[in-house]
């Protein structure tokens, strides 16, 4: 059928419908889905494909048979006359067989080459204008029309056919986006994508089947809805610079066209953003493969010896012995492909091209300086660099090797000799890692001045690296600084870091026999950013990925699946922070936090409730991630349970009472004490170090009102930003601490108000508006999530505390096998003696010590009481011993 006739039929099939023809307009050409998808057409194409296969095999078979006949003929005639022109010109069946064999061979070649996908590459079309999705009223409206099917991959075409087959089998009237989606699931790219997302076909098939069963029935057509999806897929493929429309673009467009699919995937825990990123991952993989192929080809032209292609270079035996040839390593495929970092690479090349200027890459360790240099080596192999770098070698000189040889003597001569060889060779670009190591600080060897003077001669330039701290403290003050242009290498942002990780996944998967899901890769970036503050992206995330791959591979399952939970578990283990999702058991625990805290703390309902709610918010990720988990100010008289509540919180939430860093602010009353807390002059601080080592802890600041005003300002920043820079310039993360400050400020006011029977809320208002103003600035008080007033303890509270304290004594004696009972009247008597309106429950501890524990100690020392004996404590401190029956 000629194309025009097909178009006419297509127009007719749309009839008088007001709907136009969906397609994409590129450079005045209209691309639309022209391919007819009917059962007949599908069958015909499949038969034709099979027939063509037969044509090919038939040609080969005929060729072989004819060749055999020719050989047989020649051998039968004992090869007589085969070299004479008479043999080849006289008609004979033997010679006919030979020429038939060659003709069939040529036909075989034709069929093999013609069967290859001959459609144009999408990248070659529409280079001038931005393609746009449009609908035209009729195909006659545009002159140049093309079929999207000609730029589809086999998978994409298979998906279209499969969707039609599915719709027809179910008797559905039209192929919808959902049919296309389901049909496409049978293709390899879609299956790989689902695997990356951690979604199984089993998990989505039932909702899909139920939804499809609601489609209207009738004679099946590959209608408008499907054509729109195919046109959208074409547009997406064009916009993402694909070579052809693949099943992946159809996947994405079906997903966008059918909101139901978003629901299906949401039920599997996949957000549209995750799906988009996983699709991007597969595209990146394709791009990397293409880049790799191009690189391998270019690498075959790059010399791997120390000689350049124009043979102008000079051998550099000493330099070779103290350095590593990065361009040679790149040719041998020992360097990784650089992903992203376009801007930084452009900056480096511009600096070099602009005036043969040396550059120093300044970035934190692990940020990718080495990867950038290897990327430059790759570019040099491909010769995609400015002229000054073309046909050159990139050599990484080992400063430690130069310095350490011969016991360290003569390092300057060796370095100078290496630089002279660079000058002599003329084809070497030097890389110096950790430039600051050249600056002699107390070592007596200052290689930096040698480098500075040689660079001053202008015969070469150097690419160096250093860290921001070393640059500021050492390099900037040294003689080499003016010779270098500083290029700052920052941590990559989230999406760039994920892409870098994605490019590394392939080799890890092959090495450890595991498969990473997209969520695992994203979690490696997100969780290391959030919980691991030593090191920089992408390295710290790559390290985690390597480790988690190893952990998963050890489980013995092949291939092992690396999921988000595995990454979270490993990071949780490393940082001792509960990173994993809240489990059911833990959920129960969190819901009953108050009860658990009350096992230790008596009364103080509002305070316990406020703390418990903050912890629940934190664990369910409802809090702001940029501040501490909670900031509380506990106000109230001494001995009412402020510190006890803090301890109980540490035990309940962090697992033990020891997960608490306690600082008595009375020790930090002068301005110089700031240094002790956060460090300075090259010293680490007590508080910053405690939090750095154990970022998931409770930070208890006792008697805050006694701290110096500068220290209060520090905490202002902690409460606001959740971080603090310590004396060594390291950023310490406070976003996983619970900050609790206790203060006795306003105690008299609280006691007076309680005495006159004022409500706690009124007392709190009075404190905030009047009493505390003299001690704390308003903006400081406002930073606290809650200022909690602890009411003085009532007599009933003290009785309850007495019960708790006695219970502890009973427990201790139980360990010795002694039964200890205390009568209620005795407990009330102890509580009465231990109660003091001013000091809360604090005197009670002393009373219990004196009245209970001391006499008990006497009993034990005298040996009067043995295992299974019972001691009864009664009114007036009378202790009665009841000996147990003999065994």
């Amino acid at each position: 059928m000629s194309p025009d006739v097909t178009d006419m039929l297509l127009d007719q099939s749309r009839g008088t419908s007001s709907q136009g023809v969906p397609g994409v307009l590129v450079d005045g050409s209209f691309w639309h889905w022209k391919k007819i998808v009917t059962q007949l057409e599908i069958d015909r194409e499949r038969s034709l494909a099979a027939a063509r296969q037969w044509e090919k095999y038939g040609a080969i078979l005929i060729s072989l048979l004819c060749l055999s006949a020719f050989t047989f003929g020649v051998v039968s005639a004992q090869g007589e006359g085969i070299t004479t022109s008479e043999f080849w010109l006289t008609p004979h069946w033997t010679t006919a067989a030979f020429f038939l064999a060659s003709t069939a061979g040529f036909f075989g070649v034709y069929r093999s080459l013609a069967d290859r996908k001959s459609g144009a590459s999408l990248r070659e079309i529409g280079l001038e204008t931005q393609p746009e999705f449009t609908e035209i009223p009729s195909l006659a409206a545009v002159e140049r029309r093309f079929d999207i099917a000609t730029v589809c991959t086999t998978d994409a075409l298979f998906a279209a056919e499969e969707s039609f087959r599915l719709a027809q089998k179910s008797g559905h009237a039209e192929v919808s986006a959902l049919h296309l989606f389901t049909g496409m699931l049978a293709t390899t790219p879609a299956q790989v994508l689902l695997a990356r997302l951690g979604v199984s076909f089993e998990g989505i098939k039932d909702p899909l089947r139920r939804r499809l069963s609601t489609a209207s029935v009738g004679a099946t057509v590959f209608g408008r809805a499907a054509e729109v999806v195919m046109a959208q897929a074409f547009l997406q493929a064009k916009n993402t610079h694909r070579q052809a429309v693949s099943a992946l673009e159809i996947f994405a467009c079906c997903f966008a066209a059918e909101p139901f699919l978003a629901e299906v995937f949401a039920a599997q825990g996949i957000t549209p953003e995750e799906l988009e990123n996983a699709l991007a991952w597969m595209r990146i993989n394709d791009d990397l493969r293409e880049r790799y192929d191009a690189f391998r080809k270019a690498a075959s032209f790059k010399p791997t010896s120390n000689m350049n292609r124009s043979m102008t270079a000079v051998a550099t035996p000493f330099l070779d012995s103290v350095s590593e040839d990065l361009t040679r390593a790149a040719v041998y495929g020992q360097t990784g492909l650089l992903v992203g970092r376009d801007q930084e690479m452009a900056n480096i090349l511009r600096a070099i091209e602009g005036g043969d200027q040396s550059v120093v890459l300044v970035g934190q360790s692990g940020v990718g300086k080495q990867a950038l240099i290897e990327g430059l080596a790759d570019l040099m192999v491909e010769e995609k660099v400015p002229k000054v770098l073309q046909d050159k070698r990139l050599m990484k000189i080992s400063v430690p090797q130069i310095v350490s040889a011969q016991g360290g003597t003569g390092a300057d001569e060796r370095f100078l000799y290496a630089l002279q060889q660079v000058a002599h060779a003329g084809n070497v670009i030097l890389v110096i890692e950790n430039l600051h190591e050249l600056v002699g600080e107390g070592t007596g060897i200052d290689l930096a001045s040698i480098l500075a003077s040689e660079l001053g001669k202008g015969y070469t330039f150097v690419i160096a690296t250093t860290t921001p701290q070393a640059y500021a403290e050492i390099v900037e003050r040294s003689v080499v600084a003016p010779r270098f242009q500083k290029i700052v290498i920052d941590e990559p942002d989230r999406s760039a870091a994920i892409q870098i990780l994605e490019s590394k996944v392939g080799s890890l998967e092959a090495k450890y026999q595991v498969i990473f899901t997209y969520a695992a890769v994203a979690a490696a970036v997100d969780l290391t950013t959030r919980y691991m503050h030593d090191g920089a992206l992408p390295e710290k995330a790559i390290e985690i990925m390597k480790e988690v791959a190893l952990v998963v591979s050890k489980r013995g399952q092949r291939p092992g699946w690396v999921r988000k939970e595995d990454v979270a578990a490993l990071i949780g283990e490393r940082t001792r922070i509960p990173v994993t999702e809240v489990s059911q058991g833990e959920g129960e625990k969190l819901l009953h936090l108050e009860e658990r805290v009350h096992e230790r703390v008596i009364g103080q309902e509002p305070a316990v409730k406020a703390v418990a709610s903050a912890l629940r918010r934190a664990r369910t990720e409802l809090r702001s991630g940029k501040r501490p988990i909670a900031n509380f100010l506990f106000l109230g008289p001494t001995g009412v349970g402020k510190t006890e509540l803090a301890k109980a919180t540490a035990e309940v939430y962090f697992g033990n009472e020891q997960a608490m860093a306690r600082f008595d602010m009375s020790e930090y009353q002068d301005a110089s004490s700031v240094n002790r807390l956060i460090g300075g002059n090259g010293q680490a601080g007590l508080m910053t170090e405690a939090v750095r080592k154990n970022p998931f802890c409770l930070l208890l600041l006792d008697e805050l009102e006694k701290a110096h005003a500068d220290i209060l300002n520090l905490f202002l920043q902690v409460m606001d930003d959740g971080r603090l820079t310590d004396g060594l310039g390291r950023t310490v993360d406070f976003t996983n601490v619970i900050l609790i400050a206790t203060s006795n400020a306003g105690t008299q006011f609280i006691q007076d108000q309680v005495a006159v029977g004022a409500e706690l809320s009124a007392i709190k208002n009075g404190l905030m508006e009047v009493e505390l103003r003299t001690t704390y600035r308003p903006e400081f008080l406002n930073r606290f999530d809650d200022v909690i007033v602890f009411a003085p303890l009532t007599r009933e509270d003290v009785v309850a505390i007495a019960y708790l304290s006695i219970a502890k004594v009973i427990e201790r004696l139980k360990e010795k096998g002694i039964v200890f009972t205390v009568t209620d009247a005795a407990i009330h008597e102890l509580a009465e003696q231990g109660y003091d309106a001013k000091f809360g429950a604090r005197p009670l501890r002393r009373v219990i010590q004196e009245k209970v524990e001391n006499p008990l100690a006497d009993y034990l020392l005298k040996g009067a009481v043995g295992r299974r004996d019972t001691l009864i404590f009664d009114l007036g401190g009378v202790i009665t011993l009841k000996k147990a029956e003999e065994l």
């Binding site: 038969s47 008609p91 004979h92 060659s102 040529f106 013609a114 124009s310 003329g426």
Partner: protein, 120 residues
């Protein structure tokens, strides 16, 4: 439908010469050009010509310069000969592509008909 498929197969067979001298020929040209470019890059003739007067191995004395020019000339000639050889090879391949199918078909027909007539 079977008839249609048969028709398509027949068209495939008939289109063999048309494809061979149109898209097939284009394919072979492109392939040959790529091959030639790759070899030109491999022999780096351009680089050798550009550096004809640049002394080899960083030897800047006049004797070395003379030796270098002589050596480079030898290299350029040698490499040009190699490249020319490859060009000739590719030209022969192209010529064979153009001629061989026709020859082989005509000879096949000639021998087939000839031997049949001879038998008759």
């Amino acid at each position: 439908m079977q008839l249609e498929v048969l028709r398509d197969v027949a068209a495939d067979i008939l289109l063999f010469p048309v494809w061979w001298y149109s898209r097939g020929l284009l394919f072979v040209w492109r392939w040959s050009w790529q091959m030639l470019s790759d070899y030109a890059e491999y022999f780096a003739l351009r680089i050798w010509i550009q550096n004809l007067f640049v002394p080899m191995f960083g030897q800047y004395d006049w004797q070395s310069r003379l030796i270098s020019i002589a050596m480079r000339t030898v290299q350029i000639v040698g490499r040009s000969v190699f490249l020319l050889g490859i060009l000739c090879g590719l030209l022969i391949l192209n010529a064979m592509y153009l001629i061989l199918p026709i020859c082989s078909m005509l000879f096949a027909l000639y021998h087939l008909l000839g031997s049949l007539l001879y038998v008759a």
